[in-house]
Symmetry: C2
Subunit: 335 residues, 2 copies
């Protein structure tokens, strides 16, 4: 059983996933994405993943057969375990709990070599639909307080399988980084009685120097204080704290702008590894006036070294005004 | 002039180092340490760095000549600039200031291929002595509020030069990560009237399952909630919030235990890339009863991916009890 442990100083939690434990000699310093060979995420190999929890596009054929256009399965090597009761304990001055949670893999396409910027807009729509459906389903589990959905694209961004996929981790606590964000937004709201993200959208659209692209419902900006070159945030223009409350009619506009954004990024830096993370309100706190759901896209172009580790301070060689102008001026077909 | 910018939500600062700016096409995704060829840190090449600010061991010969055993020089490509007045400004809802600071390189040895675990204990002593001397000197500059000293060892840990060196960055603000640590320690002290690190040392020495090694004055532990496999903290047993107040007679014991620690780590995982960071109190706040200076050593064995980015939550496959036992049982010569 994995264990959740809290740092007694800053309150950061870590997952100690013992089952994944290795002897020191087993550590491979730079993990590579396996190319070629057997892919457990490809159609026909459904038996090599745990049984699916969601599939789209299958017309006929049973569960866990080929014919799907998107599939969600439990992670075969989960960081947290779904079965069991939460058990919080102390160990002297330390706090820990057993590693209850969910860890799922969203297989974004049946095509092994298809990466998101090359997908059709309908496929991207399916991906967001699956995120929402899994969020909805898992949010009914009272043990969970937060669900994080993220994608690692490319070995340098932490992907260990080549086949395009995202991941979902349901947690029994609200992660430190999200708690910080919530507190920051709340402080801003107490002072100004406005949502800080709404203010950011207003200022960015009026300055128009860091806006990458927009449509009627969403806007993509390079944030003012980006951690990495070409960092981008995708924001809904209408205030809403939870991705769960996004109406079905909005998946089209979101998918189309998101696809356009990835195309711009890939045209600017072909083959760039990146991470993206969906930031949404904690479960059972659906409409907060001070918080605004969004997606943060982080291209992996700089190394995180001692300075960043020690200080939480990032050095970024590319001003977001330059990144914004560059990405904005890329010529791409609309999604 | 580089610029310091504050994220309006969580208050994290970033350095936008425009002078380092590149076209998107210039980004190299995995930077490699240059092997062989010209080394600007080797004796004889003193002219290819900015003029030194400190040198030890030279008997005769002028400044910036060979014959030194340790040398400190300004970084040729600094993230922050030493000349100028602080200028804080707003841009709508955003905050920024000009990038005033210092960025120095501590060349740890004249020998190009010598890495710290292979150095003599006297050389390690010189390194810590240089850290303190530079801290002392720069702390007199009223524009600076924090000085971070760190080392990147190996390309995977962010080093771009092979020749063993550490770095120092003096900042006009206290970094977010340090501020978090200070606040956490202060909260603990308000509640318990004890230093959390002193309590950690007490519990660790009594449990004796995560202690790696110790001597009369220092102790090395694998922390209870480590971010990465084999993370270690080096702590002074006597409470003190600032590395600046470390007496000269303590450099020997510190160097000897630190060297032993690196030897254990290298014997466990030969050639492991790592970062270490000196955590000490902000400048002009020298003796705090709630804070305890220490050094955090982070082997670079796992990739930081979307999950960690988005959540501030780390997945660690190696329980610190296993890492501790393994490192403790390594047979190494004493430093």
């Amino acid at each position: 059983m994995p264990e959740l442990r809290r740092d007694p100083i800053i309150g950061r939690w870590v997952i100690i996933a013992k089952e994944r434990g290795k002897r020191p000699s087993d550590f491979v310093v730079e993990r590579e994405v396996t190319k070629g060979g057997f892919c457990p995420l490809c159609p026909g190999n459904e038996g090599s993943t745990p049984p699916e929890v969601l599939a789209y596009g299958r017309s006929g054929g049973g569960a866990n057969a080929a014919g799907w256009s998107l599939r969600v399965v439990p992670n075969k090597f989960p960081a947290l375990i779904i079965e069991g009761e939460l058990d919080k304990r102390g160990e002297g001055i330390y706090d820990k709990m057993n590693g209850i949670g969910a860890h799922e893999v969203i297989v974004e396409t049946p095509e092994h070599d298809l990466i998101p910027p090359e997908m059709g807009v309908h496929q991207i729509e399916l991906i967001f639909k699956a995120y929402q459906e899994r969020l909805e389903d898992l949010s009914r589990d009272a043990r969970f307080r937060y669900i994080i959905i993220f994608k690692n694209q490319g070995a340098a961004a932490g992907a260990s399988l080549e086949h395009s996929h995202s991941q979902l981790i349901a947690l029994p606590i609200v992660p430190h980084r999200i708690q910080e964000e919530l507190s920051g937004c709340q402080r801003y709201f107490e002072y100004k009685e406005r949502c800080v993200f709404c203010d950011i959208i207003r200022q960015e659209r009026s300055q128009n120097i860091r806006v990458v692209c927009e449509n009627d419902h969403f806007v993509v900006i390079c944030p003012f204080a980006p951690r990495s070159p070409f960092e981008m945030w995708v924001l809904p223009k209408r205030h809403s704290s939870s991705f769960l409350s996004l109406g079905e009619e909005m998946f089209g506009p979101l998918a189309s702008l998101f696809l356009e954004t990835l195309k711009r990024l890939y045209k600017a830096i072909p083959g760039v590894p990146y991470n993206y993370v969906l930031h949404t309100a904690p479960l059972r706190m659906q409409e907060l006036e001070y918080y605004h759901w969004h997606i943060e896209i982080m291209p992996k172009l700089t190394k995180i070294a001692g300075f960043e580790w020690g200080s939480g301070f990032y050095i970024n060689p590319t001003p977001p005004e330059e990144a914004g102008r560059f990405l904005r001026n890329m010529e791409v077909e609309n999604g």
